[in-house]
């Protein structure tokens, strides 16, 4: 979708396509691109070390895929899906 208009920056955009952390399959890792929002939820995520540029990995999921245990910078923490949705990570390869 994003690279339908080839231009000088299209290559970079394609590499930097973002998805929610909750969309990463269990066991997969990526790099945090951004944490959305400017309120309490975002603040808590940032405080826990989910900071842009840090490597994250989804370690496991609870019943029904929620909550998720993710490791940020090597330190694991359990979060709910609605929280992890705010964390945008780089989709290294196209999900298709």
């Amino acid at each position: 979708m994003l690279d339908s208009q080839p231009g000088p920056t299209s290559n970079r955009i394609k590499l930097a396509k973002e998805i929610g952390l909750d969309e990463l399959p269990t066991g997969c890792g990526s790099e945090i691109a951004a944490v959305r929002g400017d309120g309490r939820v975002a603040r808590e995520l940032l405080t826990l070390g989910l900071v842009p540029g840090v490597n994250v990995r989804v370690l496991r999921r609870g019943l029904g895929g929620d909550p998720l245990e993710v490791s940020a910078g090597g330190h694991p923490v359990c979060l709910r899906r609605e929280q992890t949705r705010r964390v945008r990570v780089l989709a290294v390869s196209d999900p298709d």
Binding site: A34, R40, T47, L63, P67, P76, C78
Partner: protein, 719 residues
Amino acid sequence: MSERPLVAVLGCPNTGKSTVFNRLTGLRQKTGNYPGVTVERITGIARLESRDVQLVDLPGTYSLAADGPESSITLDVVLGAAKGLNQPDALLLVADATNLRRSLYLYCQARELGIPIAVALNMQDVADNQGIEIDPVLLSGELGATVIPMAANRGKGIRRLRDALAKLLRAGAPKTAPLMPEALKEALELHKQFLPEKMPVPALERAVIDSGGEFERRLRETAGTAAGTALEKARSRAAASAGAISLQACEATRRYRQVDRWLQAAVQSQLRPAGRAGALLESAVTHPLSGVLVFLAVMSAVFQAVFAWAAPLMDAIDLFFEQVGAYALDRLPPGALASLLIDGLWSGIGAVVIFLPQIVFLFALVLFLEDCGYMARASFLMDRLLRICGLSGQSFIPLLSGFACAIPAIMATRVVDDRRARLATIIAIPLMTCSARLPVYALLISGFVPSVYYLNGWINLHGLLLLGLYLLGIVGGAVSALITRRVVLRGPGGSFFMEMPPFRWPNPRVLGLKLLGKARIFLVRAGTIIATACIFIWALGYFPRSDAIEEDFVERRAAIFAQALPESATEQALRLANAEERAQQLEYSLLGRIGKFIEPAFKPLGWDWRVSASVVAGFPAREVVIGVMGTVYALGSDVEEGTRLRDRLRESRWSDGRPVFTLAMVLGLLVFYAFALQCVSTVAVIQREANSWAWAAGALIYMSGFAWLAGMLTYQLAA
């Protein structure tokens, strides 16, 4: 007193902060509450070198940022804005060596406050085992603060920590360049402009950075709308000069970059992966399928153990109180005093102590599962399920504890981060079948429900009914929680974060101390209220006394002696007469009158005045109902023969000769007991934990009404 220097102990949750605090202060502690919030304020005295120092144990936090009056306690205390505490002269930051990154984030914020600070590097032993090598000297140099490696739960490093704190109190605060100079500049500006009371510059800095946070709210509240507008402008100016869209993202990025530099310089990690067995265990307990199976197996084992093991002990305690009471009653001069001492006080104490075995067993198992790391995994697995009813995975342990006793369980809800989910948990807990309901269930089920066996004798109707009552409580709890969240406390779910502790063998000493604490909470908090209630109920059932009845029985006893029967027959006849006198006096007493007065209200449930009076008597503490029934039905002190009470209940008739205790009425009574909030201590603890009388009263009215309705429906449908 006030001359003692104050040291504030802060740190992230689960860093062993309280263990360090306990090691430093020992028994010289004082527990209270911060005004207006349900956060425990724990202070203590520690001896450093040759002088006493006051310590305050702050609630665990990851950051100085605050989103409510509860999470702002840390910064308030540190800035000297908390009532009753001076500004600390030094800070002790307890860091978790296995999770240093998050602890150092907090350090990175705290070191800018201009107060001398030392770092206790706790759980050094665990970190060693995990292959995390931290060089304390290098780290100390990097941080610009003393770093004391320690293993507080084994008492290692405490002496060095004492020395370091003593030295720290003599030293001045280090100068630190702020990491958020843009925000600091704006905070200084705001301070000059508005001079808000009780808002020092660091608090204003938080207001600038944390949009929508507690300190912003406070500034708007104390300094008005002008301050609010100024704050918004200050925030966008600071963001622009920092070159960031969001100041809080900018803060986290800068601080974590700083933390990573420190870590790089002082920490060498060669993380040892968990062994094969450990990895297998991990995947088994959190896998969607095997995890649920393990969960069900663990829960059934816990319940089995609690009920099978506690029974003989409870019987022994029962017998002891019975025998001692009877022995003493024989030797005391008859009258009101003897009755108060034995029937009121002694059996009141007995009513409390008898639940101790079950509570101790259940909590021993719950604490074991918690400390070994299983509970966190079960909460993680079950979170989604619990959220359907508006609860949280963190509600799981409190709910489970509710099967022993609601009082410590409600106090355990402090682990639930989200306020709404916490209140819903508090409302759901009293509906879990606590151990005090069991004697009532046992008496009624074994007495009035036919013992039918199914499947070649494998399954008994009694057991099925008991299981049904447990499930009824669980469903009732789920529905109540749901109503609480959907109707009373509508709104989005709050924050949730949990750190999964590693699997490990619990330290028996720590486990024992925690268990002792739980038992003490039950005995002190519940025990005093239950015992007082028992005495109150005794008085209701004892006064006023009728002289006519007394005289009547004096005559009757004289008649028995006059018959000159054999000794055993005389004794038997006397016992019977005594019991009957007590029953008649009770009918004459306030309690009997209350029972008769409210009989119409409980007629739809099929209760006569005797049952009504017993239930009223059991209102402050449901377990006393059996004792009262024993008196009402003229069994005197022979209640230990449960079969006799059962027989008496069976014989009980309405005035037109219909039996009172029909199957339908008993089922209704059981359902009533499953839902009714018949426990004063629970009401008191709800008030304390929810910090509101409205919640306590609401829970009481709601559950009593619901119990009445459900009991009535059951009776009417079954009749």
